[in-house]
């Protein structure tokens, strides 16, 4: 392999699994050599792939965006099981015989399950000043500690600051739990499934992936909008999607 030329070193980048009659999106940036995305079929299912040179590392910002845009474009009109970024097989035969054929029933059943459904992400971030004001109104220890550090030297009060931060962090975490539960309850009627993402930032209030029937997209937007309006002074919301059901595919297979 080390002696072959760059042109020979092509692999097959796999974006995801789709029904075999899916039209691959055209005119989109692909990962690899710029030739378009193609389907490698096996019965009623197919892998959405593009050829990729294997002597160049992948994972640039452009690559990451290309992966997601490709899958989201497919998800607009077909069911799709998204692969995690970075799946490359040696040959189209490997895609067919190694990936598709042995797991055809499993993939076909999963595609059926996702037919007509898309994912949305809803992310709410606390308006920091508002949520901190809430904490100070509710937590006597935080108020005491805040008074103790006020105007004092930062290094001299480091322990008190850490303690204050700890208390505030715990209070915000409790709010996150309560708010996430309340928000999930509010939008649940519009969703087929809800998957919670781990908080990635201390200001995160709500971070949920939603599996939604395509026909109910308007309902969902309305529900999110209503919840966002209710919490407008304390949480800033973003609704992302429709996108491929990244958070709802699970590899149940061991090999």
């Amino acid at each position: 392999m080390a002696t072959s030329t760059a042109a020979d070193q092509a692999g097959w980048y796999v974006y995801g699994i789709v029904p075999a009659d899916t039209e691959p999106p055209r005119g989109m940036r692909t990962i690899g050599d710029g030739r378009g995305a193609t389907l490698v079929r096996s019965g009623t299912i197919a892998a959405l792939t593009s050829p990729v040179p294997i002597d160049v590392p992948i994972g640039t910002p452009d690559d990451l965006v290309a992966h997601q845009k490709m899958l989201d474009a497919v998800a607009e009109r077909a069911a799709v099981l998204p692969m995690r970024f970075g799946a490359v097989l040696a040959t189209d035969d490997a895609v067919q015989r190694g990936l598709l054929e042995p797991h055809r029933d499993e993939f076909a059943a999963a595609l059926d399950k996702f037919a007509g459904k898309v994912q949305f992400l809803v992310a709410g971030r606390y308006v920091q000043a508002a949520v901190l004001t809430e904490v100070l109104n509710e937590n006597a220890e935080a108020v005491e500690l805040a008074a103790a550090i006020r105007g004092e030297d930062e290094l001299a009060t480091r322990d008190l600051r850490i303690r204050l931060g700890e208390v505030v962090n715990a209070a915000v975490a409790a709010k996150r739990e309560a708010d996430t539960a309340a928000f999930a309850t509010a939008i649940e009627p519009c969703c087929e499934a809800i998957s919670r993402r781990e908080a990635g930032h201390e200001d995160d209030a709500v971070d949920l992936a939603l599996l939604v029937d395509r026909d109910r997209e308007d309902d969902l937007r309305r529900s999110v909008q209503e919840a966002a309006a209710r919490w407008r002074d304390r949480v800033a919301f973003r609704l992302l999607g429709p996108m491929a059901p990244y958070d709802f595919v699970v590899a149940s297979h061991g090999g």
């Binding site: 990451l64 040696a90 006020r150 850490i162 966002a228 992302l240």
Partner: protein
């Protein structure tokens, strides 16, 4: 509508995920893992990845929270409580936005510089 505003404007009007941070969290962390399905023929291509998640609770987090409370306290003193809420929320939101942008920028830099380095060393290999 201000309630749904964020770094990218109103997300309810602009539904497509475009930020690199959103993409990273989604496609590096989620989705089918091909290794679970295929044991042979997986190409050992080098994949540049980064750890997308920030640790939620650390001393840094605590100190940031303490500083934020301290700033809030000082503003209370200066402006008095009633008029405070509107003004503080705005500056709070601004601060938050900047933080998010910084974080996204850091991720981007990490990816880009990692790429530059590795691509360079990769080429040396090839030449």
């Amino acid at each position: 509508m201000t309630a749904v505003q964020s770094t990218g404007g109103s997300m309810l009007d602009r539904p497509s995920p475009t930020g690199l941070a959103d993409v990273i969290d989604t496609i590096l962390d989620k989705g089918l893992v091909i290794d679970a399905y295929v044991r042979v023929s997986l190409v050992g291509i080098e994949v540049l990845t980064i750890d997308a998640r920030i640790v939620v609770a650390s001393v840094d987090t605590y100190l940031r929270f303490a500083e934020a409370v301290n700033r809030l306290d000082i503003s209370h003193d200066k402006e008095g409580l009633p008029g405070l809420v509107g003004g503080m929320q705005q500056s709070g939101a601004k601060h938050k936005t900047k933080g998010a942008l910084d974080a996204a920028g850091d991720k981007l830099r990490e990816v880009t510089s990692g790429k530059a380095e590795r691509v360079r060393s990769g080429r040396h290999h090839e030449d």
